[in-house]
Symmetry: C2
Subunit: 191 residues, 2 copies
DNA sequence: AATGGTCTATCTAGCGATAGGTAGGTAAGG
DNA sequence: CCTTACCTACCTATCGCTAGATAGACCATT
């Protein structure tokens, strides 16, 4: 049974790595940090994930899949409400965990990231941009959203704005700023 | 003479630290990296900056001041052109150096940053938000910009959008995305 | 039922590299 | 002679990672 869906300690390790990376980034956590969280010795982590690059890749992959699942479950009525529900995923993470999106975190660290992790980051943003772009197109087709905007460009702006606002809101300890940014983005796209 | 305006090797160290931090972040560079760039031994850096926290603080401070100077020199005619000129600072750094804004970089690393550096980051964003907010207010007063937007909220969104777009554009090696985001933001604020 | 072998998941111990930082010395210049 | 700006040499801590051992679970054969 390959890496399809880790269980037990392997999943504990993955979750601890995710939390640590969302908090301090790839360069900001160590195997010993994970080990202490999970309750094993750092050497034992290598049994489940051979290298730090492997661990980070698996973490990023699981995050990307989990995020895709969450967007897939957004099923509110209007396009504007879909964007709000999407942004609420960011708001919730920031407010309840004080963490930022792993995708954004890793994107800023790209210069010191193993290739295999970089690839996961690319795929994450490709998926996110696609999902938002579809919502924007639907909103335009139904007349809820401004028709004069380039949907692909707005979608990219929407995603990267939320990412940036998330980083900076946490940095300044002003989570409300992220919510304000989300609301302004939704306001601006509406007809 | 205190840290008013470093010259000679002290400034070389500062510039190397800035470049390295804009590339890889606070956790991603070492005294030995700086030493190799500047052409001295890593121990000699401590003569100019006692600790890594001191070096990072001085670097962030110099960056904040330099950035303020650049915004102060933006003197184009219309408010929209001011925002474009502001965004062009980001675009230029990304396109010519492949680097991201030090403020945004450090904001994402806030959880593993010394307090004295965190303070510089806060001041950086306070200054940037203020500058943009003033431009937005002027644009609204002169009828160039939509009057129904909250200027303070839009300013924060504008800054954090550029920051986020910068991070992600570099991460995906798509610098055009940053330019697209800038243009869309300017388009959205106009009346 | 007891035996022996293999697999899983962990451990202890430690490797070489590198981190930030320190102590003490030295050559040059006012 | 003292200050400046560096040096060599080294410290302790931590990094990712490896080797080898071990305890328990499962499993087939005797």
């Amino acid at each position: 049974m390959p890496a399809a869906a880790p269980t037990g300690k392997a999943m504990d390790i993955l979750e601890s790595a995710r939390t640590l990376m969302m908090d301090r980034g790839f360069n900001g956590f160590s195997f010993r940090d994970v080990a202490a969280n999970v309750g094993i010795k750092s050497a034992s982590i290598h049994y489940h994930y051979a290298t730090k690059a492997d661990l980070a890749e698996a973490t990023a992959h699981a995050y990307r899949c989990a995020f895709s699942d969450m967007t897939a479950q957004i099923n509110t009525s209007s396009a504007a409400e879909k964007l709000r529900a999407y942004g609420a995923l960011f708001v919730k993470t920031l407010r309840e965990q004080g963490q930022v999106c792993l995708g954004g975190m890793l994107a800023t660290e790209v210069a010191s990231l193993p290739d295999q992790v970089r690839s996961e980051v690319s795929q994450f943003f490709a998926e996110q941009n696609d999902w938002v772009q579809n919502v924007v197109c639907d909103g335009q087709a139904s007349g809820q959203f401004r028709a004069d905007l380039d949907a692909a460009m707005f979608a990219k702006m929407f995603v990267s704005s939320l990412e940036g606002a998330m980083m900076i809101s946490r940095g300044l300890e002003r989570p409300q700023d992220l919510e304000d940014t989300l609301e302004m983005l939704v306001q601006l796209v509406q007809a």
